[in-house]
């Protein structure tokens, strides 16, 4: 019996020490907003993906909306690894899809996540609304990171906050998801935010 892989995964990069502390951070956002790019910028290993089985409800919705009639029953979820060797910690960044039909996956992803980065494209702000509700519903603290696509319009921060109906306490930062240092600063903004609200 052959379990034929659809594409060969990269060679395994093992953890140097199994006794490290693992922490989970979500990179959430609408389709095409740069989640995979951000995970790739930060990850020290080639980004990986897991194949997730969709629920029946999700699959049925998929079929209705997919004009090709293709039966999508699985979805690929990206993630990456980011070690903080000075602290014996490893962060895992999980891409969280921003479509309503992936709701079932969110329960598992949001479980025990430290926090989330909600990536936003100013060209399609309204695509982010569902994502923001999804993290809020699960009480995952988050920062909003505007991925500065060259084609996307620039707005004053206040206008953006208003358009997103953002809680005054929730940070809004700008980044270029292709730039590792910019992505690192987003993570710092997130953890700063988590500390401010840690009781």
């Amino acid at each position: 019996m052959v379990y034929a892989p659809s594409s060969s995964p990269p060679d395994a990069v093992y953890l140097p020490d199994p006794a490290q502390t693992m922490a989970k951070i979500l990179v959430a956002g609408a389709f095409g907003v740069g989640k995979t790019t951000m995970i790739g910028s930060l990850s020290e290993i080639p980004p990986l993906h897991t194949e997730e089985v969709m629920t029946t409800v999700g699959a049925a919705v998929d079929r209705l909306h997919d004009p090709s009639g293709k039966q999508t029953t699985t979805v690929a979820m990206d993630f990456g690894r980011y070690s903080l060797p000075t602290q014996d910690l490893v962060l895992y960044l999980f891409g969280a899809p921003g479509q309503e039909r992936f709701r079932a996956l969110w329960e598992d992803l949001a479980h025990q996540a430290l926090g989330a980065v909600v990536l936003v494209d100013t060209l399609r702000l309204e695509d982010s609304f569902w994502v923001m509700s999804a993290v809020e519903e699960r009480q995952v603290p988050y920062v909003v990171a505007v991925n500065s696509f060259p084609r996307s319009p620039r707005y004053p921060v206040e206008q953006l906050r208003q358009a997103l109906d953002l809680d005054p306490a929730t940070p809004l930062v700008t980044c270029d998801a292709r730039d590792p240092e910019a992505c690192l600063r987003v993570l710092i903004a997130l953890v700063d935010h988590l500390l401010t609200h840690c009781t």
Binding site: A4, A12, Q20, M22, L48, F94, Q112, V191
Partner: protein
């Protein structure tokens, strides 16, 4: 038997677990760290379980990474890993910190670790 690349695997995911749908332990998370108990891959395992055991004979990985490398859904890997742990082939090392979000000390460590990367 070969399959053209880009096609679905021949055996549906639920059959990879021999029909088991439930993991025997619910402590397994995507970020549970796993290692093989011995460096020798145990004999007589079904192909999917064998692949997991063989992969982990090389070192430690999280469950999500195992799922990615063996190209099976996380839910399926949880079941297979449970069985391998039950049979003493794998060791569960650590799991994700619970309520880390409310753990100021942990968050401070994360922050200084991130700042050290700048």
């Amino acid at each position: 038997m070969t399959t053209p690349s880009g096609r679905r695997r021949l055996v549906p995911a639920f059959l990879a677990t021999d029909g088991s749908a439930q993991a025997s332990r619910n402590t397994l998370d995507r970020l549970t760290v796993l290692t093989a108990t011995t460096s020798r891959v145990p004999e007589g395992l079904d192909p999917p379980a064998h692949r997991i055991a063989a992969l982990l004979s090389g070192g430690a990985l999280t469950l999500a990474e195992v799922a990615a490398y063996v190209q099976l859904p996380v839910s399926v890997v949880k079941v297979l890993v449970s069985e391998l742990v039950d049979h003493g082939h794998l060791t569960v090392h650590a799991t994700l910190l619970r309520s880390g979000r409310r753990d100021r000390q942990l968050l401070e460590r994360v922050l200084s670790g991130l700042r050290a990367k700048l």
